[in-house]
């Protein structure tokens, strides 16, 4: 088990190194930040002075090695767009907003998707099942930005129930969380339904029915408990996709989290912040996958012995 974990850890480190290389290369391929950050009237002398000041005149490999060396010490540089802050400070300032929104979105996904999947499986082939399938299909096919704008127009502008955008209390979070959860609800509901169908066909369920166990106990206790393994394994992906999904939703709802930050940083070619965001996202992804791998190995001996 230790060897398995050690190998996975090393693989995660290599992946992280590769990610730093890719993100560094891609951000620099998009052009120089001076063109995004300096006003149109900037003179050539001013441009050159800033290029020197920010060390952008050094060869790329030198810049990368310096970046890597500093990153190992937790220093991802100074933000070029949010002056007066380090890149990591800017990201950490925004991270709680994303986590709050993501957390509510996960909660919504679970609260809606699991019962929906269970009910759809229990009533397979009925109108309930078909309706759940339609909900799932819509959730997976509606673009999140469109859904977000529709939610704003209906529930904020039309009905006035919620604020349109921005950060605040719970009311500010409802619409973006629904928009963000829509895809996950669909995916999770379909997975739950599929797993529940297998469980409901199993021998122990038949036996329970023969023994006269009430149907709700069979469905919600015995079958769901066994079927839950499948959607649970999806949570790793779910948490990760909430980070990436936040890019679109936070832009539509002007929610000042890391998603909106990354868009602003990319537009402004703020290399240090783009790198900090991507590396943070990567670390979260790798960490979640590492934990999931470890749990798999713990549960299934075949994996850790492979």
């Amino acid at each position: 088990m230790r060897r398995f974990l050690a190998i996975r850890f090393l693989q995660a480190l290599v992946a992280l190194l590769a990610i730093t290389l890719i993100v560094f290369g891609l951000t620099h391929l998009t052009g120089s930040p001076v063109d995004a950050l300096l006003p149109d009237d900037a003179s050539q002398a001013q441009i050159e002075s800033l290029i020197r000041h920010w060390g952008l005149d050094r060869p790329l490999h030198e810049q990368y090695l310096a970046f890597l060396g500093n990153a190992l010490q937790g220093d991802l540089g100074v933000s070029l767009k949010w002056r007066g802050y380090t890149a990591m400070e800017v990201v950490l300032q925004r991270l709680p907003a994303t986590l709050k929104l993501g957390g509510l979105s996960v909660l919504l996904s679970i609260v809606v998707a699991i019962p929906l999947g269970v009910v759809a499986a229990r009533h397979r082939g009925t109108m309930v099942d078909k309706s759940a399938n339609v909900v799932a299909l819509l959730g997976q096919s509606l673009p999140q930005f469109w859904l977000g704008i529709m939610l704003i127009w209906i529930f904020a502008v039309g009905l006035g129930w919620f604020p349109t955008s921005g950060q605040g209390g719970l009311p500010h979070m409802i619409l973006p969380a629904i928009a963000m959860a829509s895809f996950q609800v669909a995916a999770l509901a379909r997975l739950t339904r599929s797993a529940m169908l297998d469980s409901l066909r199993s021998e122990y369920v038949k036996l329970a029915r023969l023994k006269g166990v009430p149907e709700y106990r069979i469905v919600w206790k015995h079958a769901l408990r066994n079927a839950a393994i499948v959607p649970l394994t999806y949570f790793g992906l779910l948490a990760g996709s909430l980070l990436t999904g936040s890019v679109v939703i936070e832009s539509v709802f002007s929610w000042p989290g890391t998603g909106l930050l990354s868009i602003e940083a990319i537009r402004g070619r703020d290399y240090p912040v783009v790198q900090a965001v991507v590396i943070l996202f990567a670390v979260v992804f790798l960490l979640i996958n590492y934990v999931v791998d470890a749990l798999y190995a713990l549960v299934d001996p075949r994996i850790r012995r492979a």
């Binding site: 063109d35 149109d40 002056r83 904020a156 502008v157 709700y216 539509v252 909106l260």
Partner: protein
């Protein structure tokens, strides 16, 4: 309890929960006495003016002010008066003695001006045109007099200290005590609004200064600038009453007007727009010059100009609210204005597709050019969301007269990068915003040492710009500028389109009017003149 009953109970609980949540959420979001502006996020989200791109926060003032209606320089900000010596190599600013910083940081003195100048011209400064701000020496003659000395004549130096300029005045006392961190957390300015807080990525809030030193009393107690990147979300804010002023793109202004909102606009045109022939590196010996570009031929440039139905373009791009201009750099408020160009415009640039086809045939287009394709940049620039549509319109008009075109989508910075590498062989929409003084306009767009977004360059344009820079006699300067504008006009150096006002969509139940001249970097200014509806 059986399964069916449990299920019904859960549904009831869910409905009740949703109703409670909705009731809690419908709390009012609009605070009395506060005006909220939903705006595009700034290029640099910072309180450090010299680290931005010239978008001035409402809490700061510069040395030179502007009349809110005419836009002319006046002493409504920190300098009581200013003057230059005869050679224009020495500019002296006398400060108002009663100007006061916010939060008890004391009176404004010459030391504050020198300190602010040093910050602004420091190595990390990204502010607009610091080369033009930079002086050979700066000296505080006494507590309220500052002199800037130069090695060469600087005829328009007041511009550098005005609304589109490169410097605002910070408190030296605050810096000495708190360092730059003090400016980051709570900068003291001198305007009628003072800083309250910045929510990174979300916006900045200000409050009315009690007993402001100029006696200014803005109608609104609080002023919030909220950054909203999505136009549809901005419109939603306005319609939901959460914002009261917004810089909505023109294409969705109609939706706001239909919902009872109103437009307030700058008192003067805030920008001129058009399209330029990039890559015209025509100064003798310039290795980047390419004679084989279709638009290196003046007949092709004229044909492209005559292909444009400007009236229709102005209607589509600006809802008809734009004035056709014969030059996107020349302005009647600045030196060198040539009124005759307006009269000659229809004859030389007027919409005439037939003449355009004749000119192209005369130039041997397309066969005479190795690559006859005209690449048109489609880009979005903050403040000019219409540029993408403009590129598409250019394509339609060009193709209608037989020009081969292609749209190249790129961000504005990439275009700047190409220009910096002297490889911008493209046609691109452009703006002069706000209207630059003539000298800066000519140097920026028609010389090798100009900006990355340069247009037509030639020995003649270089020579005239040089001469203008070296001349201090006003009549002579005007004559040179007129010669330059006439020359560029006759060379079909660009494709001028329209003078456009800065427009903001407002909620008329909250905001009655806003008087601003349209001369600052981000077009809006004079926040203390936002008038509340009764």
């Amino acid at each position: 309890m059986n399964y069916a009953r449990t299920s019904k109970l859960r549904v009831l609980l869910a409905v009740a929960g949703a109703a409670l949540l909705a009731a809690a959420a419908s709390a009012p979001v609009q605070a009395a006495g506060k005006v909220v502006l939903a705006l595009d996020p700034p290029t640099a989200d910072t309180n450090l003016f010299w680290n931005g791109t010239g978008e001035r926060l409402p809490c700061f003032q510069a040395l030179v002010g502007h009349d809110p209606i005419t836009g002319k320089y006046n002493n409504s900000e920190l300098a009581e008066e200013w003057s230059a010596n005869e050679e224009f190599t020495e500019w002296t600013f006398r400060l108002k003695k009663n100007a006061e910083f916010h939060f008890g940081w004391g009176r404004v003195t010459a030391a504050d001006v020198v300190h602010s100048y040093e910050l602004t011209t420091g190595p990390d400064s990204t502010i607009n045109s610091i080369e033009h701000l930079r002086a050979a020496s700066v000296e505080a003659l006494d507590d309220h007099t500052v002199v800037f000395r130069f090695e060469t004549a600087r005829t328009d130096y007041a511009f550098q200290h005005a609304g589109r300029g490169s410097m605002v005045v910070y408190s030296k006392a605050q810096f000495d005590k708190e360092g730059v961190d003090g400016y980051v957390s709570k900068p003291a300015g001198t305007a009628a609004y003072q800083y309250v807080e910045r929510q990174p990525g979300a916006g900045v809030t200000f409050e009315r200064v009690p007993d402001h030193w100029q006696g200014a009393v803005p109608d609104f107690e609080m002023l919030e600038l909220r950054w909203i990147p999505e136009p549809a979300t901005k419109l939603a804010l306005l319609l939901a009453g959460e914002a009261h002023i917004s810089d909505l793109p023109r294409e969705i202004q109609a939706d706001a007007l239909a919902a009872g909102k109103a437009i307030v606009k700058s008192k003067n045109p805030a920008m001129s727009t058009g399209a330029i022939f990039n890559g015209m590196y025509g100064k003798t010996g310039d290795p980047a010059y390419r004679a084989d570009l279709p638009w290196s031929d003046i007949r092709v440039r004229e044909a492209m100009n005559r292909a444009l139905n400007r009236e229709e373009m102005i209607e589509i791009l600006y809802g008809g609210r734009g004035e056709p201009v014969p030059s996107w750099l020349m302005d009647s408020r600045n030196e060198g204005y040539v009124p005759e160009l307006k009269e000659r415009f229809e004859g030389m640039y007027g919409y005439d597709p037939e003449r355009a086809r004749e000119l192209l045939a005369d130039a041997g287009y397309p066969d005479a050019f190795p690559d006859p394709t005209i690449p048109i940049v489609s880009s979005v620039l903050s403040g000019n969301p219409e540029f993408g549509t403009m590129a598409e319109l250019l394509q339609v008009y060009f193709e209608a007269v037989g020009l081969q075109t292609e749209i190249r989508e790129m961000d504005w910075a990439t275009l700047g990068n190409l220009g910096r590498s002297r490889e911008a062989y493209l046609i691109s929409p452009v703006r002069n915003a706000p209207i630059r003084p003539t000298e800066a306009a000519l140097v920026n767009f028609h010389t090798v040492r100009g900006t990355r977004y340069g247009g037509y360059e030639s020995d003649m344009s270089e020579g005239l710009a040089d001469k203008l820079e070296q001349t201090i006699n006003p009549q002579e300067r005007s004559r040179i500028a007129q010669e330059a504008f006439t020359y560029l006009f006759e060379q079909y150096a660009d494709m001028p389109l329209a003078a456009v006002f800065a427009e903001l969509t407002v909620d008329p139940t909250v905001v009655k009017d806003w008087t601003f001249p349209g001369v600052s970097t981000n077009s809006v200014s004079h926040y203390h003149l936002i008038a509340a509806a009764e």
